[in-house]
């Protein structure tokens, strides 16, 4: 999640009070910035009529937007990028500080859809926009792409993503054998394969347009970044829905890494926690998820991956959909606490996806997955 005030002018409590309309009202607006192909600010734009933004932490291209724009011929769809910015007006006293808090909402590349003209003669476009992962998804290697044995994974990632602004956490793990990808493989696939091999999160871009490559950390080990509750600072609106799907959730994971010139590595992880409804103990039987095409730097990475699969599969069993006022500080795969007595919920969740319209008075839909220990 982004900081509650990225500019650091206001305390968390002040921003939370404003976000939750503690004094009965809040004022929210959105503006848009035009960036060049290197994400340098070109200037503000006034031709975006409306829009929406969404994030799905499980999708390849995680952040998307839809923008309705006036087409005055001033948009270079091939080069221009758009960064929406949410602005929350802060109630006084401001004490010399900016009277608002702003959050960037991502850097988006634009598609070039058909133009439409209404009866009033105004030409508009409904533009689908994608974060910069689309650059890596569209960029396919022309020849067989290989990374030599002994190369540090993060060096290989740096080479692959050369030229992109990034936040790459170094790792000392190196490839134990050469790895190759077929011609035509998207660079995003190669990148995510390399990240997975060292148990990093799949690639995503932050709100300022920087590629984030960092070690995966289970939500159980992460602290909650925001607390939603139906209390006097509630921002929860509308209905909430809770769903359970216990049927096919595995309780044992077996991962095998098999290379021709190496001894095979095997890792097994069993959920035998009596408190878990899908565990071998609770079910009374074993459902195995077997994967034999894994790439991992070493045994520890393979073990960590098995634990990660176990965690991710086991949190599927409970998901919650609910809506709030727009909370623009959310990022990718945030961890939040939800307290909703009507649904008997008081737990930590990971945010699978969210979406909202870029207009005052809009609501934000959240899809959460239950964080459980397996």
């Amino acid at each position: 999640m982004q900081p509650l005030d990225p500019a650091g002018n206001y305390s968390d409590d002040e921003v939370i009070d404003a976000l939750s309309a503690a004094r009965g009202t809040r004022s929210m607006s959105f503006r848009y910035e035009r960036l060049d192909e290197l994400n340098n600010l070109v200037g503000p734009v006034d031709w975006v009529l409306s829009g929406s933004v969404a994030n799905n932490s499980l999708a390849d291209i995680k952040r998307t937007a839809k923008l309705r724009v006036l087409d005055r011929g001033q948009i270079n769809y091939l080069r221009d990028r758009i960064r929406p910015v949410a602005r929350l007006t802060m109630p006084g006293p401001h004490d010399g500080r900016a009277p608002y808090v702003e959050w960037p909402l991502g850097v988006f590349l634009l598609s070039t859809p058909e133009r439409t003209v209404g009866t009033a003669g105004v030409v508009e476009r409904e533009v689908a926009a994608y974060d910069q992962l689309v650059v890596l998804a569209d960029d396919k290697v022309a020849d067989r792409y290989s990374v030599a044995a002994g190369t540090l994974y993060t060096d290989a990632i740096a080479t692959l993503t050369f030229g992109l602004a990034r936040n790459l956490v170094p790792s000392d793990k190196a490839l134990t054998s050469a790895r190759e990808w077929e011609p035509g493989t998207p660079k995003l696939r190669i990148l995510n394969d390399l990240l997975a091999a060292i148990n990093y999160e799949s690639a995503w871009f932050d709100e300022l347009g920087r590629l984030v490559c960092r070690p995966y950390q289970s939500p159980t080990d992460r602290s909650s970044e925001y607390a939603y509750a139906t209390d006097d600072k509630s921002v929860i609106v509308g209905e909430a829905a809770q769903s359970l799907d216990l049927f096919s959730v595995p309780n044992r994971w077996v991962l095998v890494k098999s290379e021709a010139d190496e001894a095979p590595l095997t890792s097994a992880y069993t959920n035998d926690d009596p408190a878990s409804p899908t565990s071998t103990v609770s079910r009374g039987r074993v459902i195995v998820d077997f994967r034999d095409d894994e790439d991992a730097a070493d045994q520890a990475t393979l073990d960590a991956r098995a634990a990660r699969y176990a965690f991710e599969a086991s949190q599927v069993f409970e998901s919650v959909d609910f809506e709030t006022l727009v909370m623009p500080m959310h990022s990718n795969a945030d961890v939040v606490t939800l307290t909703h007595p009507a649904l008997s919920l008081d737990a930590k969740f990971s945010e699978q996806s969210w979406e909202y319209d870029l207009k005052a008075g809009a609501t934000m839909s959240h899809k959460l997955r239950r964080v459980v220990s397996v």
């Binding site: 009965g24 809040r26 004022s27 509630s234 929860i236 609106v237 909703h340 005052a360």
Partner: protein, 140 residues
């Protein structure tokens, strides 16, 4: 270089009566005054949504930055030598599809658009024009 200094004249600036309008792109040639204007009704409302929040007794109101501001006024143009030209001014303003500048003797002054047109109604003594101006931003 020469210069001339006029005599000092004492006087009172003419009072603004009724409604003055002009096309901001051609102020000097389009300015007109309408001394008989009545029934001015203002509407001023910020963009807002009332949201019912779970767990709180009273709703939350969220405001946006947009401001919906409009003015309704009925302008009466008596029959006379200037009648036709005075009524035609409003027809031309509607057809031009541009903002006009509005001022009145109550201190109102803004750029507005005749988005819903005008409704001239002829009577025994002249023409009444029901006008609704929607305030807009205007950059010179």
């Amino acid at each position: 270089m020469s210069r001339a200094v006029s005599d000092i004249i004492s006087g009172v600036a003419p009072a603004l009566v009724g409604v003055w309008v002009h096309d901001p792109l051609d102020a000097s040639d389009t300015v007109r005054s309408y001394p008989f204007a009545d029934g001015r009704t203002e509407h001023l409302a910020p963009e807002s949504s009332v949201l019912t929040v779970v767990g709180r007794t009273r709703p939350v109101v969220e405001f946006g930055e947009a401001l919906d501001e409009s003015l309704k006024v009925t302008i009466f143009v008596p029959f006379g030598p200037e009648h036709d030209e005075a009524v035609q001014w409003w027809r031309d303003a509607v057809l031009a599809r541009r903002a006009i500048f509005y001022r009145d003797n109550r201190g109102r002054a803004f750029y507005g658009v005749l988005a819903s047109g005008v409704d001239p109604v002829d009577g025994r003594a002249g023409t009444a024009l029901a006008v609704e101006l929607t305030r807009v931003d205007w950059e010179a």
